[in-house]
């Protein structure tokens, strides 16, 4: 079972996280102050750590640097009420694997936990660069940028190609709009709900054209998932 350590001093938020992650099948331990959090995190054994930025005793950034100094590489997602653009970028630069501003949806947190866990998991195929992504009847050549589905050629705009590449590398995971925005466009602000949706629906239309089995799904209240139903 996947074990998550949540270091959060606000009981309501801690409860919200524990409940949400619990429902998704994670085992969640709560530490309510910085020192306790660091002590538990130092034991290792967790698959991911959800770390509040502002904590009594020891703040989140100090805990993170203490952990990294100890050689503990457990993925860390930083939570913060300091959700301004600058703070987000600063948080990411401080060595956390991801940064989430409060308030946030559990779905967003889940998607990001999943993403950092997979990102930090050892690559199965070694260091050989991936040049071709295959999924079901979808074939994506990363070098020639040629995309075919069941032998049918699909023409994609460069941005649509990047979108598909990102979704394919996170197959069977929920990918949120902000994750797409951050990875595909490299911007950290929220341009409003529709903007990304329209891009995704265009890509979906091109992929699923001709009555093929739908590959790209909308996950209500969270984002998208490329994969089987």
């Amino acid at each position: 079972m996947t074990r998550i350590l949540c270091v959060e001093d606000d009981p309501t938020t801690a409860d919200y996280i524990a409940k949400g992650l619990g429902e998704a099948g994670f085992a969640v331990d709560i530490a309510s102050d910085g020192r306790d959090g660091l002590a538990r995190a130092s034991d290792g054994g967790y698959d991911a750590i959800v770390l509040d930025r502002m904590l009594p005793g020891m703040d989140g950034l100090s805990i993170l640097s203490a952990l990294r100094a100890d050689g503990i590489t457990t993925p860390v997602i930083m939570l913060s009420a300091l959700a301004s653009l600058d703070e987000r970028v600063k948080g990411l630069h401080s060595g956390s694997d991801d940064y989430l501003g409060k308030p946030f949806a559990v779905a967003e947190l889940l998607a990001r936990i999943e993403a950092v866990r997979r990102r930090t998991a050892p690559a199965a195929q070694g260091d050989v660069p991936v040049t071709r992504l295959l999924y079901e009847d979808l074939d994506v050549d990363l070098l020639t940028r040629r995309v075919t589905r069941a032998g049918r050629r699909i023409d994609l705009q460069p941005r649509e190609f990047r979108l598909l590449e990102f979704l394919l590398s996170h197959r069977d995971q929920v990918v949120t709009r902000t994750m797409l925005l951050e990875d595909v466009w490299d911007y950290h602000f929220d341009p409003g709900t529709n903007v990304i949706d329209v891009h995704v629906s265009r890509l979906r239309k091109k992929l699923d054209e001709g009555g093929a089995k739908p590959l790209l799904h909308t996950v209500r209240g969270a984002g998208y998932r490329l994969g089987k139903d």
Partner: protein, 462 residues
């Protein structure tokens, strides 16, 4: 922050400062006077000795010359002639048997060598009541004769004594004056500092309107300058506090209606339940809008406060324009709008990429929201002589010149019935981001439509 000293202690410090400075001046004066007096005494003494030495040497030379040329008797005559007139001279010429030949001394002074260039010694001359200080020189002549010539220093010592007395009197007077003046000056300074401190205390206590009194003729001494600077600072603080107050009022005002709607929906769900889930969804939307409004408002405040200047990077404004057009193009297309970028040539600038992206995204969002009817929206990035310019132009209804200021104000929504998201903060945020870069956002008529430009000056590197 250290706690300020209790109020009862505060008036004590200027007085003790006065005492300290006065004491300091006093000690400094005493020290300087001692050095000067010591120096004068040394120089004076040295000069007097030198004078006496010259005189007695000359006298001795004259007697020795006569003795050598014409013998002891001639020398005796010279000595007798010299001593006829009462003066400061003391002379003794004696033969090998220590018998006095001439002079006004009864015996050779005990301990005086037979030959010495210059020596101080006390001597009692014949016909005098008391011994006087003398500068003497002695000389051994032929046939065992020896000569002593001396000059009384009594006159010089009286002079030195007078000089010393008057010097001490002058120094004492100067000390008194200096102490008095330093006391007066220091207490005047302390009074003016206390005046400024009182204003600071009053302002800390909440009276932001208090100002330091500055002399009317202005631009006077350092205290006037300090007072003027302090007053300028206080005026700035007062303005900022007023601004903050108006922002808070505006925010409270704008938050009230969505919060009231939120509350009404929650009440309804509590009363009737929400079988369809639409109310809960609407509550979520409303909450999201509130959060967006709050975030925008905070982002504006941060930009206005200049936060983010440390994150300026070298970037291409044209690439940013193309990125944003690329991001919004499908959405525009769905709304029947052709969104085009006129940004082929690179426009290198130093700026906050994220914030500038956000500003441009807000402008495009606004254009799509209010100018979609025009069918075409152009986004341009170009280099200008002063720096760089971003333009978003639509062909919609535009904004009347009279309403343009209002559109740029925070919470300055043109139409209160418009959708909650953004809540009129989009333009205000873009304008704040332009100002963060030292630039300006301007609204122009596009005949028809609205053309928004952000002019960015060349940033100083480093």
């Amino acid at each position: 922050m250290p706690t300020p000293p209790a109020r009862g202690h505060r008036p004590r410090w200027p007085r003790s400062t006065t005492a300290r400075i006065t004491l300091l001046v006093f000690v400094a004066m005493v020290g300087t006077s001692a050095i000067i007096l010591g120096f004068i005494a040394r120089v004076t003494q040295g000069q007097l000795d030198a004078d006496a030495r010259t005189l007695i040497t000359a006298e001795r030379e004259a007697i020795v010359a006569t003795f050598n040329r014409n013998g002891p008797a001639a020398a005796r005559d010279v000595i007798i002639a010299e001593l006829l007139i009462p003066g400061p001279l003391a002379v003794r010429l004696e033969d090998a048997g220590h018998h006095g030949v001439a002079g006004n001394l009864t015996a050779w002074p005990a301990g005086l060598p037979r030959q010495t260039e210059f020596q101080r010694i006390g001597l009692l001359r014949n016909g005098h009541d008391a011994a006087e200080p003398f500068a003497v020189t002695s000389f051994t002549l032929a046939n065992g004769y020896r000569l002593l010539v001396g000059r009384s220093l009594a006159e010089e010592e009286r002079l030195t004594a007078t000089l010393t007395t008057s010097l001490f009197a002058a120094v004492g007077l100067a000390l008194l004056l200096a102490t008095g003046i330093s006391f007066l000056v220091t207490s005047a300074i302390a009074r003016r500092i206390e005046n400024i401190a009182n204003v600071a205390v009053a302002v800390s206590a909440g009276d932001l309107a208090r100002r330091v009194e500055v002399q009317a003729n202005g631009a006077g001494d350092a205290f006037d300058r300090l007072g003027t600077a302090l007053n300028a600072m206080l005026a700035r603080i007062e303005t900022l506090v007023d601004e903050l107050r108006s922002v808070t009022d505006g925010l409270a005002h704008d938050l009230r209606s969505p919060l009231t709607r939120l509350k009404a929906r929650i009440d309804r769900v509590q009363r009737d339940g929400d079988s369809s889930g639409t109310d809960i969804a609407a509550i979520g939307t409303e909450a999201d809008a509130l959060l967006a409004m709050l975030e925008n408002s905070l982002e504006i405040s941060r930009a206005e406060a200049g936060i983010g200047r440390d994150r300026f990077v070298a970037m291409d404004l044209a690439a940013l324009a193309r990125d944003m057009v690329d991001m919004y193009e499908p959405l525009a297309d769905d709304n029947g709008v052709r969104l085009t970028a006129i940004a082929a040539d690179a426009v290198p600038i130093t700026a906050h990429r994220e914030l500038l992206g956000r500003a441009l995204s807000n402008l495009i969002d606004n254009a799509l929201r209010y100018g979609a009817a025009g069918g075409v929206i152009e986004v341009a990035a170009e280099a200008t002589t002063a720096g760089a310019r971003l333009t978003v132009a639509d062909h919609g209804p535009g904004i009347a010149p009279a309403d343009r200021d209002g559109a740029l104000r925070r919470f300055g929504r043109l139409d209160a019935a418009r959708s909650a998201r953004g809540a009129g903060l989009g333009l205000a945020l873009a304008a704040a981001i332009a100002r963060l870069h030292g630039g300006a956002l301007t609204l122009h008529a596009n005949r028809p439509g609205l053309r928004v430009t952000i002019d960015l000056p060349q940033q100083d590197q480093g």
